[in-house]
Symmetry: C2
Subunit: 236 residues, 2 copies
């Protein structure tokens, strides 16, 4: 996934686009100082673009590639709290507390755009519209997390994993990327960590789905053969 430019999301499919447009970035006379919006910085696999506890300064959009967000709990245990795909935003949760609540690291070579929120006032634009956009984003995040909670807390392993695969597929589809054949860049440990399952369980369930001809697994590549069956399993 995202090994070349073909897998880049277009600007108009990017979660940052409403803000970019608002800044009229790149248009003559927009008056936006340099350095407020940084376009397409490459990030290597494993690189962290912000750390849990860092002072908040920017919101990031994924131009290509994918990331995971993780935090360390009191008991020295790493907990993956989410995955982020091309076109999605990261870091907006940090705006509230002034610090990033989790660490974002790249699952593969990726590219990000960065919007320096703390330098926005220099842009001379009214903050109002920008804030409305942030509110929208955070609201979506809250809704998403509620849904996630619903999905995780009650369901069995096969339901969680089916739901997880469908969720990825839906998000890819939303950004107009291939949604029935894609790559799971995160390790099975990461998936298990996120879903609250042992990685042996993740492997077993994926194998079972494969043997039932619902998906095809080839290393980290996955093809969804029978989305309806997945949906049925996910709902339980």
């Amino acid at each position: 996934m995202a090994k070349d430019k073909m897998d880049e999301v277009a600007c108009n499919a990017c979660g940052l686009d409403p803000m970019c447009s608002l800044l009229e970035y790149g248009e003559a006379g927009s008056g936006v100082p340099e350095g407020i919006l940084l376009r397409r910085r490459p990030v290597t696999r494993g690189e962290k673009i912000y750390l849990k506890g860092d002072a908040f300064y920017s919101v990031f959009a994924i131009k290509s590639g994918s990331f995971k967000s993780a935090m360390t709990t009191a008991g020295q245990h790493e907990q993956v709290v989410g995955f982020h795909l091309a076109g999605e935003l990261m870091g907006a949760e940090g705006m509230a507390q002034g610090i990033y609540p989790s660490t974002a690291s790249a699952l593969e070579p990726s590219q990000v755009c960065e919007l320096s929120i703390d330098r926005l006032p220099e842009a001379g634009k009214s903050l109002e519209l920008m804030q409305q956009r942030i509110i929208q984003l955070l609201g979506q995040e809250v809704a998403f997390n509620h849904e996630l909670l619903t999905t995780l807390v009650h369901k069995r392993a096969d339901q969680r994993i089916s739901g997880f695969l469908l969720n990825l597929s839906n998000r890819l589809k939303y950004r107009e990327m291939p949604d029935t054949e894609f790559s799971l860049e995160m390790s099975q440990s990461d998936i298990g960590n996120f879903l609250g399952l042992a990685n042996a369980t993740v492997s077993r369930v994926l194998t079972r789905l494969h043997k039932s001809s619902i998906i095809v697994l080839k290393y980290r590549g996955i093809r969804i053969l029978d989305g309806d069956a997945l949906r049925e399993i996910a709902q339980g």
Copy 2:
């Protein structure tokens, strides 16, 4: 809990207070039209103050009492997504999508204040500060949910319940209410639903904690005898 006025939170302990102050509500010449901020409406047990899917219009603060938020999943299954205590806000998640994503119902006779967000422009105040406050709230909600995820997903039943009790206790303490002896107004079914446990399991764990002299249970009243033990269990 909250059977009389003594259990009311003071305005300065209320989550809505920063907004009330912003509106200079009640001060002479504040120019805030009537009906934008409604103070202390009584709500009966079981009453719903907004329904999932309702058009968003207000943010609510709990002056006294407690509520639960629930939504119905695709599979006709009710899912409790949170509990709300005196001093806390409800409904801000609805601002993003324009509709309330869950239904809020009172667990006991309660009192709420209501801020009509959709009539705020009439107040003639700058939206900017208000929006910043909302962003802060939503960010807290996201952070809280991440923490919740961490708490729920990997842990065993006794860890979940210990964490749940500690969470309630901490939130009560934050609002300066009794935090070692309080009432669980929600049913064990609600707790189990929220934590992803069968209610038989909730009962068994609570009984076990009681027998270990870590808590005292008397009907719905609970006293935490050994908070350290709870914390130890919660962490695993």
